[in-house]
Amino acid sequence: MNEFPDTPGRPGGDHDDERMRRLLDAAVSDVEPSEALGSIHARTKVSSMQRKRSWVLGAGAAVVATAATVAAVTVLSDSTAPGGGDAGPAAGTSPSPHVSKKATEKPSPGKEPSGKATAGTAVQTVPVYYVGDTSRGVRLYREFHRVDLVGGDPVSTALAEAVSTDPTDTDYRTDWPEGVTAAVVEAPPSDVITIDVQTSGKPLRERPGGMSLDEAEIAVEQLIYTAQAAKQSRDPVQFFLDGGRTDTLLGVPVSEPLAQGDPTDVLAQVWIIEPPEGAEVTAPFEVSGLAAAFEANVQWELMQGDRVVKRGFTMAEECCTMAPYSFKVKSVPPGEYTLVVHDSDPSGGEGFAPWQDTKRVTVLP
């Protein structure tokens, strides 16, 4: 039974063994680790979700079909009361000065800052919302694009980006068909943002085949959120189709001015804002974004493939509404990484996979 020889020079090996067992047992007998299955699940889900994501990228369809209901666009009977007074997220309004300053300093890679940002023309950073697949269906993420202003108007510029420019983050997309344009037109009353969608002959009154109901509603929300953010106002949005009124757009009822849909149902609940997709950074670097995380808990991993190189967590400033978070990634070897930020799973693995956003970053030596 006792495979080990007696301790040299000591009598009573069995006795010693028993004593050692009791000592070590007692040393940790009151170590009671806290429940961790939930966070283990959250992490194994993140890594399998990432694998899944890379498989279906480009398929264009929602990754996970869920029972998530995207709230129908709210129709306002009184166009002077946008939002019904609900406290929307900071995200729905305008970029904070802090954030836009950073974005200005560091134009997103993948764009051609030299081509677009010619000296002498009006260049501005505009907020642009894009569609991304999440564990709860399609939701909106926001990017900042630094571009020439179209006709000097940030709202039209942001809308043009939203419908026809590819997002910097390849996990996002726009579901508006190619060739479609959207711009603000002057139309009374002035406290309504009127967006004219030019279809170039495509039948966009009805929902196109291949576009789900959720995708259609989110595509409409994409323009509402983008326009309101660029205008820094919650004025309701009236849609025109090819210059005139329409009852529906992509099959979504739009005859009345629309308030933005509930951010909880429209926005992805975790965003990374800095660093942008494809950024080159040097360690230490700061990560910031917005998250409506369960208990304000924001977790992050720096991954290489399926391997977690570094991880940590932080708290968003507030729970349950899109609130700023930031953290610093200290020492990390140079190389290419995927930064994953996500919330924790309140159900301990029973419910939806967590909200997350990912960015590819290169850490320079």
């Binding site: 020889p5 070590l24 040393a27 009151d30 170590v31 680790p33």
Partner: protein, 169 residues
């Protein structure tokens, strides 16, 4: 073991967590000395096992992998902590509060402190042998060393620990 259940990776995590999580955290506390690090090490190990389950596919192999990963990661945490940290006062595992039996806490601290003074291999062999009750062959496999080396680490470790504890009392 041919009747081993066919678990998928998630089931493996759930089952092995339920049966072994606490014990693995305690094992890691014996090695790294503090609770927070131990919990992190063990959670990392479960995530690693989940990622690797396609290759393991068997509960026994899963558990062996977990033990090995916990020991390896505990060791690498200590290595990164470096020499300067070795003399920082230890963080006791989750002291529960004022009503805890002071004597018990004291004794536990003495043993953990003494373990900390041992060379890494001796500490690992003692923890695997006396806390997990692993056989010599299993310890050799977990640590990737020969059975002879396990024997000699064990006997030297026991002698050193006894010596340290006698000094402390």
């Amino acid at each position: 073991m041919s009747t081993a259940p066919r678990w998928d990776a998630d089931t493996a995590v759930d089952e092995l967590y339920a049966a072994h999580y606490r014990q693995l955290v305690r094992l890691s506390v014996l090695l790294v000395h503090d609770m927070e690090t131990a919990e992190e090490v063990v959670q990392d190990s479960f995530v690693a096992m989940h990622d690797r389950w396609r290759k393991l596919r068997d509960p026994d192999k899963g558990l062996a992998y977990l033990r090995q990963t916990v020991v390896n990661r505990s060791r690498s945490v200590l290595r990164h902590r470096g020499v300067q940290a070795r003399h920082i006062p230890p963080v006791l595992p989750d002291v529960r509060g004022a009503d805890e039996d002071v004597l018990v806490a004291e004794r536990r601290k003495v043993v953990l402190d003494a373990l900390r003074e041992l060379p890494g291999r001796q500490r690992e062999v003692l923890a695997l042998r006396y806390y997990l009750d692993l056989s010599e062959a299993d310890i050799a496999e977990v640590l990737g060393i020969s059975r002879g080396a396990v024997k000699s680490h064990a006997s030297r470790g026991v002698a050193a620990l006894r010596h340290l504890l006698e000094d402390a009392s």
